[in-house]
Structure formats: C-alpha cells, structure tokens
Subunit: 417 residues, 4 copies
C-alpha cells in the first residue's frame, strides 16, 4: 500500500478494504460464520465485528464527539486483547456468542461505515487521525487473512469436508528444479523505511551483519516433503528440536496439517474440499518444528529473517495476484529466485523480538505488536491468502513454533563458506 | 402417555411429538441452533437431527426395505453413543458442524416424517415396530427437555443475557409453609407396571423394604437456600461430601448455577433473561452435592428414590400443565404434599443402578439406559421443562452428582423413629 | 476383633497392632518409604506418621492434659482429610516431605506409643476413650493394608521390578471347578450387630429384601479372565459401562493392572517381583468396570453387597491366615462356597451409600466414612493383604469404579428365576 | 577452566570435579536425595547417577573394550534425553525410583571412578577422548548447579522450611547506588575463542553489530523490586508480555519465587531456611517475564546477550569466590561496572538460537545443546551456585521465560541515542 496521508486516499482505501472483507464472507452461511474450531481461531462473525470495533473504539469514540456507540456490550464482546481499553470476553468462548446474529453484525458494520465515511470526509490532509485509520485498515487486512485460515480450519473439522470454492486445476504445471542463489551479505540495513505504511515491529531501520549465505530459488514442495515422510522423518527424533519432538509425539502428528492418507493415496483438505495432493505445489500448513526438522534432514537450515529480507533486494516480484477464486499456493515454474512473495509464508529461524530502538505505536493501539515478543518465530513473504497491497519486504508475521493452521511453508538456506 | 399399541394412536402421537419439537425451536435463530456451550450439552440443531436419525436408523432402515437414507454422512454425524450402530462424531465437537445448515436439517426432518407417516400407515395394530416407534417418541420427548436446558446454558454464556421469552410475572404468589408428611413404609412394590410405556430402567416391578419416614410437603425454595448461603454454607466443608467439597473448591462455586449477585442483589438467568431472584420459587439448577449439603445443614436428608415413589401414591396430581411461555418452576401454594410432578426434578440419594431382574431393551436400542449405571444419582418427578405426557411415578432421571444445568431441585426427608 | 472394652484388652491390642505395622515396613529402605507413585497412594512414611497422628490428635491432645505434641508441624503434615481438625498438607505432594526423616518418624511413633501406653494404663474398663482407641487401632489396620497396596504400586513403577519378598510357590494347586449356590433370599437383616467393633458405615442393622439368587462357589481366576481378554473383551464396547469404556480407551488399558505380556507370555508384578501368571489364582487388581464387563461377557452379573453378606451365613471360614511372607491371593481348591474372606476383595454392584438410619461417629472422627458416600462401589470380603482380625461379614470397603491398585477381584452371581 | 589437553590435567580435574559433587551432597539424607518436586527438576540421586552414566556411556563403553557395565538397567534409568543412545525412563517419574538406593549409587560412582581413573592414566596427551572427558566434567559442573537449585525447590515444598546450611549474615553491607556505563558498540566479535573449553553453542566466533547502549553498574536489588510490587506491578497488565501476563494470572503469581509475606513482613526461602528479605541483595528467582515487566516499569529494557558479553571486556572480575557455605547472592558494594560474574544469572532479551555457522558436538553427545533452540531465552554471567572454573564471558545459559527456580536475576540496559 502506498503512503496514505491524504484524506482522499484514506477515504478510497477505507471503502475498498471494507468491501473486500464483505466480499470474502459472501460465500458463508450464518452457521459457518458462528463456529470457532479452536482457541487460536475466531468465528468469522467475530472478525467482522472486531475489525469494526477497532474503528469505533480508536477513531469514532475518541475523535468524533457526537458519535454514540451502536451497542454498549460490543465494547467487551469485540475487544481482542487491549487491556488498556477494558475487559474482554473470553477468547476460547467467542464461538458461543449466537447473539448478535450475523445480520446484526452486518448492520453494525454499515452503521460504523456511515459514521467513518462522514468522519473521514471532514479530516484535513495530514491529520494524525488518518494514520490511525490507515492502521485500522492494515489491521482489517490482517483479519482478512485470518478469516480465510480460520474458516479453513473450522470446515476441516467436518467429516463431509465441505467445499467453499470450485476446485482450481493447475493444468499440469511442473515446479522448477531446486537451485541456489549466493549472497555475500555483510553489514546491511534491515527494517522498514519511513515511506509508506509499516507496523511498529518493522521499525526502526537498523544495521545487521549477515555472513555469506545461499538461498534456495523456491520453496519446498509437497513432493519433496513426501520424501521426508517416506524416509521416516516423523518417526526419528534425530532431526527434531526437543520441543518439536515432544509436540508431534503428544499430538500424534505424522504429516502436515490437512493431509489425509486414504489407502495409500495422499489427499489434502482445501477450501475446495478434499483434493488429491499435488506434488508440485509448495508444502503448506507445517509448523516451525516440521520446517526445521525437514531442513535438518535435508542437511540445510532455515534462513534468518534478515537473510530473507536481504534476498528480496534481488526480486520484489509478487508471484501471485491475489485471487479469491484460487486460494491455493501457486506452482513455481520460474528458475530464478522467485516465489518470495505471495505463495506461502516462509518460516525463518529468527525469534520474533524487538528491533534495536523499537518503539510501540503511541496511544491505546500500542498494545498492537510488542506484547507478543516471546516464544514466537518470524515468518516472511506473505501467502496466497494475503490480501493485495499487504505484502512487503519488511513485513514480519509471527506465530508459535507449533502452530500450523496458517499458510506456512518453508525455503532452505545454507552457510556459504 | 397412555399405552400406544394401535397404529392410529402411534400415528397421532408421532405427528404431535414431532410438531412439539419444531414449535420449541421456532424462537431460535440459525446461530442459536449452532452453538454448544459444553460437552454435556448439544446444539439445538444436533438434537433436531439426532431424534430424526433415531427413527431413520432404528425404524426405516431396518423395516422399510425401499427406504434410502437422506445423507450417508448423517449415520456418523448424528449417532450419539450407539456403538452397535457404528462410529460417532466426537461429542464435544458437535458445535463445529456448520454443515448441514439448520434449513437442511429441517428438510431432513420433513423427509423422514413423510417416510415415517407412510410407513406407520401400513403397520397393523400390535405390530412390534409400533413399540419401537413409541420408544422413539419418548426419546424425542427427552430431547425436548434437553433442547431447553442446553439452549438455556448456551445463552447464559452471553454477557448480554439474551431473553427467548417474555418475562412471566408470578403475581405475588407466596409459597406454602414447610410441613411434613409421615409414611409407615414397609415391604412395598416399586417400578413400572406393564401398562403404558416405560423405559427399561423402570422395570421390573420389585419389592423394596422402606423404613418409616417423613417427607416435606414441598421442594426447598430460593429463600430457604439463601439462608444456607448466608450462613456460610458454601464456605464450610462440614456439610459437604468429600467429592462435593473438592468440586466447589476447584470450580469456585458459591451459589446455584445461573445466580448472579450484583451489588448485594441476587439475580438469576432464565429463558426470559436476567431476572431478580424470587425467594418463593423452588430452588433450581443445584447439583446433588449442593442438595446434599443443604440437607445436612438443615439437619435432614434427601429421600431415596423409593421413598419418593412411594409418596406419589398419596398425590399423583401434576403441579403444572406444561406451558412453553412460562418456563420457570411454579410457586407452590398448596399446603398438602404437592409439587411432586412438574416443578423441578428432585435429587434422591439413590444411585442410578439396575433394578433386580433388569433386562435392557432388545436389539440395537439396548444401549439406551443400562450402560450409564455407574456414578450417577436418580432424580424423580419431572420439571416445568418436561413435555406433557412424559411424567410418571416410576420415571428415573439420572445425572452425575456435579451436574447443574438440568432443572434440578430438592425436597427434604427424615427418618421417622 | 473381639469387643475391646476392658482396659487390658485395648492395652494388649494397642501393642500388637502397632508392632504389626512396624514389622510390615521392616523390609523397606528410607527411599522406599519416601516415594508416592500417584495421588491415590501415600508414602509408607506418611502412613506411619498419620496413624500415629490419629492417636496423638484424637486421644492424647484431647484427653491427656499433660501431653505436649512432638512437633507442631505434624498437625498439618499428617492430617489426612479431617477439616474439623484444621489445615492439611496437599495430598498429591506427600511424597515431597523428605523431612521428617524415616528415623524421626520412628521416634515419633515411639514417643506417642510411650504416652499412649501410660495413658491407657490409667483408664477404667468401659471408659468411652477406650472405644476411640479401638477405632484408632482399626484405622491403623486399614492403613496396614494400604501400606502394602501403595508400596506395591510404587515399586511397580520401577523397570527393575524390585522384589520385597522371596517368591512363594503354589506347589501345583489347581482351582476347584465353578459351581453355583442357590439362595432363597427374602426379607433379611443386614449390617453389623452391636457386638464387637464395627465402623459407622456398617450400621445400623436394617431390613433388606433380597430376591432369589445364585452365587458362584469361588472367585474368578486369572485363567478365566484370560479367556475374556482372548475373546476381545477389552476391544468390544458391548460389555462395558459407558464410563468404563471411556476409561479404558483414554488410559489404553488392555489387561488387569500389573499384567505384562512379553513375547506372548503373561507375567504379573507381585511383591516378589515379576512372576509368570498362574491361571489358577484369583484374578486381582481389576477395576469395577473390568469386573462388570467380565460378568456381562460371561452372561452373569456381580452380586449386590447384601447378597454377598447374606451368603456368609453359610460359611464364615477365613480362607487364609494372614501371612506376610505369602502376599498373593490363595488358590481355592475347596468345591463348597468358599473364599468369601481373605483372598481378594470382591466388587459388588452396590453403590457405597448410607444405610437407613446411618449416624456418623460422634466428635471429630465423624468425618471418618460418611463424607465419601458418592461415586464409589462397595467391595466385600477382605484380601490376603488384610491384617488378622480385621475381616468380618458386615465390613464395607469402598473404592471408585476405575481404581485398580487394591487387591480387588470378583465373584459371579445370577438371578434365580 | 584452563584448556585440559594433557592427560595429567584431565586426571586432576576428574578427581576434583567428582569430589566437589560428592561434597555438595554430603549434607543431604537418603530421603532428601530421593525427592523430585516438579518435572523440571531431578532428584539429587538421579543427578549423581546421570553424571556417572555420562562417563560410563560416552567414554568407558565406547573406548574401554574390557569394561562391563555396572547394571544394565542404568542405561535406561539414567539416560536424560539422548535418543541416539536409547530409551529413557520418564522424566517426571524420576522421583519414583527408590531403587537403586543412594548407597548403591555411591557405589556406582566409585566403580566408574576407578575405571575412569585407570582409563585416563592410559591415555596419551592430546588424545581426542580427553576432550570428551572434559565435556563430561563440564556437564557434571552444570549438574552441580542443578543439584543446588533442585534441592532448594524440593525443600521449599516443605512447610517446615528445613535449612541445609547455617544462615550467613551479610553484616550490614549496603548495595552501591545505581549508575550507568556507556558503550559505543559497533561491529564486534562475539562467541568463544578456540582457547580453553567451551560448549558448542558458544561457537563459532562471529561478527555482530551493536548500536550504542548503556548498562547498569549492578543487578537490580530486592529493595528495587519491592517498589515494583508496591506500585502494583503484578496487577497491571501494561508492563507485561502477553504470555507473561497469562502466566502470572493462571499461576496466581504476585512476587518472586520463594518470597513469603507474613503479616506485612517479607521473607524468602533460602538454603538456610526462611529468612527476612534483605533489600540490599540482588533480586533472584524471577522469570524472564518478571524481569521484562520490571524493566518496562522502570522505563528501561533488558540487555541483549551480545551487549552483556561486550560489556565484560571492561571487567572480567568474578564477584564471588564460590563458597558452599554462603549460598546466597552477594551484596554489591562496588560502584564500578561489577557483579557481571557469579552473583545471579542475568536474563538477556535474546532468544537462545544458533550462532551463524553453529556445529553441534560430533558423535552421540551432539544432542547436547542444539536441540533446545526454540522458545528459550539466554541468561549470562553465572551465579553464586555456579561451581568454580565454570564461568566465562561467552557462556550461554538458557531457560524458558516462565522458569524461576534457577538463580535468575536481572540488570537494566537502555539505548544510547
């Protein structure tokens, strides 16, 4: 997304992003929007309301004196984790809120949109509130991706494997051969510039020393990952981190999330239902632990987040235009360093920590990113679920090393010595 | 319910019971019907489907050769616990089945009703299948009560305390004074006769020796229970069973389920939302542990199930006509032995065990009652949630001693010496 | 044990019982006495101290004004569950008390024994305190059995399967054939008489109606139970109570506790280490769930506790003299109704509930038995671990239906019609 | 420890380190050595055996052909986590192994020491096995510290708060005022040199860019931490990481581990029993979450591990000579940058990850450090429990952010801008 500092740009973006969200959920029934399949995920309905609550709470109730809240209960029901704002409804119970109904939440969105549109129209170019709204739009885009990953997880619980979309045929594409790109590294600059929007955790720009390294031209495929499985990868502790081994043992994990083996044939649950596994597609829905074990088995390692970011100086091309009728990772046929953006999120072996000189957002939104800086690993790149305009070199996604329901894959790296 | 052995009676009953179920859920949205607030409870939608699956599985698929199942997946999705029939979808996850939609389940009901009606019309009076259908109807009536208790629990999770019904005003009724009825007891007969429908666990009739005892004329009220609370009843281990004390400590329980204290005023969640506590109403939503502790505090005890059943020889009057606009227990003004039927379920201090000579239902329905005979206590009488025609002297309801979401209250008893 | 109302009898019994306890633990190291293998069990050291605390707390500190407690901390550390006495150290953490050392607890025993002996010598025949001391001795005898079951469980956790005793050879005894004894039943009297010691839960004597029944001449053997296993008994839900099936599934139970299969050969952990399974021995260490499933598979049922008690009018012979060098259940060769006492505890299908007119012990010891009256089943008869003089017709042992570390077996019964 | 590549040096070191271990446990009873208070900790007895198993397994059984194992069971019982070696006894159950007795484990140590001494005497200077033995000695030194932290935790479970040592009086020492040392940073070298022993995770040396920063002259004191508590630090989510807030909420944590408030007075459990809190002592037994929250409250931050290591170029002085009669952190009176070594371990805000070019130890010992590289944070410096010769600038200790039973404290840092 380009820098949005004029009232006009924000006004246009507001309309666009809010419509994208509603388009995304247009295929879902009230029942689909209700269900929450695990504490990590939220019901679609809750995402729709929470992103609206963000604008109501941080913009309208702070800066529009004449604004009256739509429903006082929503302050608690749709607050995610902002302790400074007040109490929150228990996260694992979000799926129990049958009221408000989906239709009422759509009315809530409409009312807030009307107030927001009128409010934005009064603002002057360069108003600091425009930055807050820009943050709210980026926040909503993050939830667009979560709406997709969460409903995918929810529908996967249903033994009927209901499809949301028609199945997309890859038309016999074949992935490119694995090759390596060499980088000298050195003392380089990482982090977001002041141009354009970035989250607080991408800043400030700072120096990092990177030793020479090699990076694979593309992400690991289902076919390659299958070799790891067939070589006993999930049954041999040798390649696993201690916590990873304990995790797959206690959960009985023997393959990536959503994979099913039926009489020797591999299938995979997708938003188009259960489909035969395509060995040319990037492997997806693996945890950091699985990514790390695969890399160890392959005699390589995962890249650091700074190696990955440094490599994007060579190729900033997005692999995919986001296409909500083709919600599976694309097959990479290009032999150059490619697929850095928009295929699958790529696990780095960097912990999610503050950059030197990190300053959280000011005000109540300051709880946005900083409070999650323990125990998580950084993912880079963006996925085919990531909305248009929401991918950039400096973007830091982060999840716990056991989490698998995001569109998470991997790319190999190696020391260059 | 009177004995239903003619084809005509079963045909009429079938239509009536099925319509009652649909009437009960007419106030609920698709979202309401979706949610499951705990593993003990099921979504309304699941109850609607499961009761239908019962007729499809045990009647149509067994005895109607031309019948084709509506959807093969339903055999797994809507089987509750009948291992002889096959696999079951995980009980705690029933709330995750957004598909089939409520509308599809209503279609399922319609299709099965059409087939059932046609099938019943072909049967001869006295056909053994009529007994199976009668069992299915009694089964559905049990689920009618569960639909109400489960949705009450589900809505109670919502901090908005949404009402389903208009609030019913008791119009200043005052409960009768507590008095005692004496019974000589002796060697008496307990259990269901061969007349009319009864479950396998109510049979056979058998002899029981009952020593002389006294029974309270009515159930314990909210006001009386409040005295127990105000006397520190929940904070003094003295009156509690060991398991009960551990239970209330670990759960932090300080009052009956659904009670809320706001600035010193007591309220109670009902199907009409949060309402001020009426001290004249019977206490309800207490566990066996709480009932037993109250009785100990009061210097009395709970009756055995046989004492209770024996007492009904004195009064078989139903306190309430079931009224689905007044879904709260009635205030008892009568000074005689009363409220035995249809106010609140009354905890006995009898474990739920087989009667001497117990024989389970024949066939696959044999898993109905017998397999639950460990760890539970018997409740007697029926509640204001119990559908018409489903209450009788010999009826044995049973729940675990910690469970509280049923319409469970208590009546005091004492040895007569 | 005969009635102990003279000062002399209690004095003699006191010395005897206390010595028996110390003899029992003479084979154990300080480390053995320290360990607690599960919350249900206690360290030997704790048993030694708790039984001593019982005399100190309920006798010396109440009735001997000049007595000073040995250590003030012991009031908390060695109180089991007597809330009326005060706080208790967390039960699952008893194994963490390395201090006091075993040697200090032996000193504690010596000091309390000296005070008790002097105190008893001052008492008059018929003093009410003599009854309290008698209760304390019966309490200690219960803990003698628990010392054996708990250390057996603790040592079973050690992959070296350390033996405490030399192995006892049964010398090719062969169990008698299964036969049936018929009983007319009727209105009979159950419960303890006023003669001799009995616990509160065995009283009062009361009338019970028993329909005609048959009882097996002996308990079920390992060989018979093996047939159940080999017939898929643990893999077929048909014969299991619902809670039992859930229990064996979640715990992965496929055989009685302490059985091990090595390359097709069955072994069993005993106090003499791992030994080949003797098919003539009574089956032992089974839960109520397993006993009930076996009975269902065999087309029989478990007896009620009243049937069992009624049957003892035919044979009050103890099968075994307690012999602490032969701590395995004896093989029954007698073809009459036998082995009712002292082989294995026999699961009844009666819940552990109060008899009509039940009154707990007076005073602080009133918490002894009554507070456990929910969720447990009664076992009758006594085992080869039960100390001499502690077995009688009216004795009611009780455990939860899943518990298996006691010497629990089973005998079949059937309706006589 | 100096580089130990001559046979003579290793021989001397072997004797010394093994004796130190035995000296450390000389105050403990067999019961003390038996207990395990949590899965994170191990019984003293197990530490004594495991460190011996290390030499037996990795040295004697590999390189001394005539050696026969002392007991075949020990291969399983005393393997910690080396999957390449074979199966392991369940970690949380280590406290259940009453056999072998403490005396048998001391015999095991003696036998292995005899074999090791004879074996070392045959080795040539420079033999690669000497490096393995050196690793084993450093491994045993790590367990020396764990023996102390684990027994401290175990004894803290005892409400008698038993002391192991006489109380040490600090003689009215007063901590120095807080002051700041400024560092320019830049592109610097981190990690262990090739001289002397270092663990694989300290290597290789590599370049790191450090922006300018300030570091406190000393660690935070109990008195300073008390101000945080008194200012509501544990009750205000604002300063806490999200995982940290969830942790202290679910565990009910309101102060550092081992602190007790009695009627307004603060005490602290030490190896000398419960002692009044000395506000001049360094705060200790805090989790990373608490350290991070304190730093946020103080408007500062924790240092990175590289900042800390860089600062040691200014002062390599050890604060304390290890003194096993004074096992509490020393009060720092020096106003210079001090207490970097040997007071308390200092939490850094660096995740425990591999250095660029990291290579695990070769052979079976390769599981030593690398498999723990997820979810943990680095601590630097060493504590008063760390044995002599086991502290250095490059040493990386690591624990999960919630763990508190180690001697973990903190030092403040700040950006210099």
């Amino acid at each position: 997304m380009e820098p949005c500092l004029t009232q006009q740009e924000i006004s246009t973006a507001y309309t666009l992003v809010r419509q994208q969200t509603e388009h995304l959920v247009s295929r879902l029934s009230p029942e689909d929007c209700q269900i929450q399949s695990m504490p990590d995920a939220s019901p679609t309905k809750w995402h729709l309301a929470h992103t609206t609550w963000f604008f109501e709470t941080f913009v309208l109730l702070k800066y529009q004196p004449s604004y009256n809240t739509v429903n006082e209960h929503y302050a608690v029901l749709f607050n995610s984790y902002y302790n400074a704002i007040g109490a929150q409804y228990s996260r694992p119970k979000r799926g129990l809120l049958s009221r408000p109904a989906l239709s009422e939440i759509k009315e809530y969105r409409t009312k807030v949109d009307e107030s927001m549109t009128a409010f934005i129209n009064q603002l002057d170019d360069g108003s600091p509130v425009l930055k807050l709204i820009q943050l709210g739009l980026n926040h909503e885009q993050q939830h667009q991706e979560l709406i997709l990953t969460d409903i995918k997880h929810a529908l996967s619980q249903n033994p009927m494997f209901p499809p949301l979309l028609e199945h997309y045929e890859h038309q016999n594409k074949i992935t490119s051969a694995l090759s390596w790109h060499e980088f000298e590294g050195g003392l380089v600059t990482a982090g977001a510039t002041q141009d354009g929007f970035s989250f607080d955790n991408e800043r400030p720009q700072h120096k990092v020393f990177i030793p020479p390294f090699k990076l694979a031209n593309r992400t690991v495929t289902n076919g390659e990952f299958l070799e790891f499985i067939n070589d006993g990868g999930y049954k041999n502790s040798q390649h696993w981190l201690s916590d990873g081994w304990a995790f797959i043992q206690s959960e009985g994990i023997l393959n990536p999330l959503y994979w099913k083996n039926k009489s020797g044939q591999w299938f995979r649950f997708t938003l188009s239902g259960l489909q035969a596994l395509n060995i040319n597609e990037p492997v997806c829905h693996i945890s950091f632990f699985e990514a790390n074990a695969y890399a160890s088995w392959a005699g390589k390692r995962l890249p650091t987040e700074f190696e990955w970011e440094f490599a994007t100086t060579q190729n900033k091309q997005h692999e995919t235009a986001f296409n909500d009728r083709v919600l599976e990772p694309p097959i990479i046929e290009d032999r150059n360093l490619s697929s850095l953006f928009g295929g699958v999120w790529e696990w780095s072996n960097s912990s999610y920590l503050a950059y030197p000189g990190f300053k959280p957002f000011e005000g109540d939104a300051g709880e946005y990113n900083g409070k999650f800086m323990s125990g998580q690993f950084v993912l880079r790149g963006g996925s085919c679920f990531t909305p248009p305009g929401h991918i950039r070199s400096s973007y830091r996604n982060f999840f716990y090393p056991h989490q698998r329901w995001q569109m998470s894959g991997m790319r190999l790296a190696e020391d260059l010595t």
